[in-house]
């Protein structure tokens, strides 16, 4: 498996950090802010794009894992 780049590791850590903040905020009366949620959504997107772009090593790029396709519901016509 190809090595993870520093940027990918940094992006994963950032997403994990924001996830912890989200979970902590859910326990508060106001809940998480929209800004925090947007920041987390973007951090996850960035991390997953790094992961998807990682060059494949011998065999599978990421053995024992599967990437999903997003379900969609088009309500806008």
């Amino acid at each position: 498996m190809a090595d993870r780049s520093t940027d990918e590791i940094r992006a994963e850590l950032r997403a994990a950090e924001l996830t912890e903040q989200l979970q902590a905020a859910k326990a508060t009366p106001g809940g998480p802010s929209l800004e925090l949620k947007d920041e987390l959504r973007e951090a996850r997107r960035v991390f997953r794009e790094y992961r998807e772009a990682r060059p494949a090593g011998p065999g599978q790029a990421r053995p024992d894992s599967i990437e999903t396709t997003a379900g969609t519901a088009d309500l806008g016509g």
Partner: protein, 150 residues
């Protein structure tokens, strides 16, 4: 019989919209993710409870029936899209075969005939693990998106 696409189970989505479900997609405890084989034939219009699909659930070392709890859940809106996302799901030290899709459902703790189906994520290609960590990597687009603009 086969799994041919990812999608949302319409009857539960309807309950969300008309507020009769009483459960939040952003719960950190209410949703479970299980995996099923390609023996299943999901019907997004008709299937509404986990009992409709659980007969096709995978099994194996490190995997418990009913799956794992979905955490890090969030619903966001941007650019005319509602996106639902969560932390990737893993089964450590597992030996699992023929996993073809992930199914998200509200686990109410009782009979599976009362556990509302929410979404199904098609793996497209069957996945397996052999004494390692099986990871469901949610798409960079999230678990699902709802396009609410023309």
């Amino acid at each position: 019989m086969a799994i041919t696409a990812s999608g949302l189970f319409g009857l539960t989505l309807e309950k969300q919209f008309i507020d009769t479900l009483g459960l939040s997609l952003e719960s950190e405890t209410a949703l479970s993710v299980a995996m099923i084989t390609d023996s299943a034939t999901p019907d997004f219009d008709v299937h509404d409870f986990w009992s409709d699909l659980e007969a096709n659930e995978v099994s194996g070392t490190g995997y418990s029936a009913g799956g794992a709890t979905l955490t890090g859940t969030e619903v966001t809106n941007t650019g005319g899209l509602t996106t639902y996302d969560a932390t990737d799901v893993t089964w450590a030290s597992s030996t699992i075969s023929s996993a073809m899709a992930a199914v998200g459902y509200f686990d109410r703790g009782g009979a599976t005939t009362a556990d509302e189906l929410m979404f199904l994520s098609d793996f497209v290609t069957a996945a397996a693990s052999s004494g390692g960590t099986f990871t469901i990597e949610w798409s960079a687009s999230g678990i699902f998106t709802v396009d609410f603009t023309p």
